[in-house]
């Protein structure tokens, strides 16, 4: 097992591990030098491990499946979210509208990961995403925190190689930037 939090560990150790990881992520992001948080190597690792998913021509199926799973989990954790995705027909996850939306979200994730090597372009893309979420009434910063947790719990289930440290240190900053223009 590579950094995945398997279900058979005792809850206390799981909590401790999460706590240490989160503590590390926070402390590294507060470091004065930007180069340690989501360093060049972290970015390479994330890109390489993410790339594994898209080896096949049927990648859109995978993206739709994974994306809709992430959004449904978010809706389960935070019930208010269901209303936010009403327009894209979240009540019928098998519908075309929701499939298209899942692909949109996964493609945004894919774009972010592929822009990790170009900080300026990444910033511009994240700024654009922040604007798009700002225009949606009711989206909160807390939703992104939960989404981050769901993402980190789900990724090791689809990726055989998953370096939790690298993914966390990169996505902490990314999710913070996307939710930077929201209230609460």
């Amino acid at each position: 097992a590579s950094g995945s939090l398997s279900n058979d560990t005792i809850p206390t150790s799981k909590m401790l591990r999460l706590f240490v990881l989160l503590g590390f992520a926070v402390s590294c992001c507060l470091a004065s030098e930007r180069q340690f948080c989501c360093s060049a190597e972290d970015r390479h690792i994330v890109e390489k491990q993410w790339e594994v998913l898209w080896g096949d021509t049927e990648s859109s199926k995978l993206k739709i499946g994974f994306g809709s799973l992430l959004l449904q989990r978010l809706a389960k954790e935070v019930p208010d979210v269901t209303a936010l995705f009403k327009k894209v027909n979240i009540e019928h996850p098998e519908s075309g509208e929701f499939a298209a939306h899942s692909l949109r979200i996964l493609n945004a994730l894919d774009m972010i990961i592929n822009l990790l090597d170009d900080p300026e372009a990444l910033d511009a893309a994240l700024d654009h995403l922040a604007d798009q979420h700002h225009d949606r009434e009711g989206v909160k910063k807390a939703h992104f925190r939960t989404f981050g947790q769901i993402l980190h719990a789900s990724l090791p289930r689809v990726l055989d190689d998953y370096n939790a440290m690298s993914w966390r240190s990169c996505f902490k900053g990314i999710l913070l930037k996307i939710s930077s223009k929201l209230q609460g």
Binding site: E33, Q35, S39, A40, R43, H44, P119
Partner: protein, 261 residues
């Protein structure tokens, strides 16, 4: 700027030659009152030939300038150096290949120490012991391309050799001080990140190592050492890398070229 002068110079020469031939006609001719009616035809023809020659010499000058740009021997040296690199030296690490028909290896600490250690003396030859790659005052510049360690877009860098020492009792290394500059663009603003470095040059593998100077270390920046290989068959070009000091892991590559002032 030569071609701009040419027509003027050409007419000038022509006039000079015409006057010359006219004067010679004057001296040689019987009728001093009408010089231009009486130019010696052979002299005039010679003048035309000289004008032609003058034009040819000028075009030869241009060709010489062109020829300087492509240096066959330098080109061959480069090819040889590149092939040698691919072939490998058949010596252990930290050893020097004597080459020639002998093919023997000596320790790199014996190269250019003033004592012949190879049977063919190759380890003390002027070409091997050439100190010109690290002459104080040399300025090398090139573009840094980062592959690891730092998230940076490509940027120009410059290495200036500021001082060198060669100990009389240990001449097999040149101790080098240098200044390393990187010209970065940050939020649309140009900024320079620079540091003083010290290191050494090794004759055996034409290898230059430069580490950030600990005496004036600024703690805000963690500068990475530079290592260069003069592996292109001359002293003007080197293949350099920014590396992590402990593991020598390559973080960036830059190919530098000697600047001429």
């Amino acid at each position: 700027g030569q071609s701009e002068h040419q027509p003027r110079e050409y007419t000038l020469t022509m006039w000079r030659l015409l006057i010359l031939s006219a004067l010679s006609g004057l001296i040689l001719g019987d009728l001093p009152t009408a010089p231009f009616l009486d130019i010696n035809p052979r002299l005039a023809a010679n003048a035309m030939r000289i004008i032609n020659l003058h034009r040819k010499v000028n075009s030869l000058k241009d060709k010489l300038h062109e020829a300087e740009k492509i240096d066959p021997s330098g080109f061959l040296h480069e090819l040889e150096a590149r092939v040698d690199h691919v072939e490998g030296s058949h010596c252990e690490e930290r050893q020097f290949q004597c080459g020639g028909n002998e093919q023997e290896c000596v320790s790199d600490i014996l190269v250019c120490d003033g004592h012949k250690d190879c049977h063919n003396g190759h380890d003390e030859e002027p070409t091997v012991c050439d100190t010109s790659p690290v002459k104080a005052g040399n300025v090398f510049s090139g573009t840094s391309h980062w592959t690891d360690c730092r998230v940076r877009t490509d940027h120009p860098s410059r290495i200036t050799i500021t001082a060198t020492t060669r100990r009389k009792f240990f001449p097999t290394r040149i101790w080098v001080r240098a200044h390393f500059e990187s010209f970065l663009e940050h939020d649309g603003k140009q900024e320079t990140s620079d540091f003083n470095a010290r290191g050494y040059y090794n004759f055996a593998n034409r290898h230059l190592v430069l580490k950030p100077d600990e005496h004036d270390h600024d703690h805000d920046h963690d500068h990475l050492p530079v290592v260069c290989d003069f592996n292109r068959g001359d002293s003007k070009r080197a293949e350099c890398h920014r590396v992590l000091e402990s593991s020598l892991h390559e973080c960036a590559n830059l190919f530098v070229h000697l600047e001429h002032d």
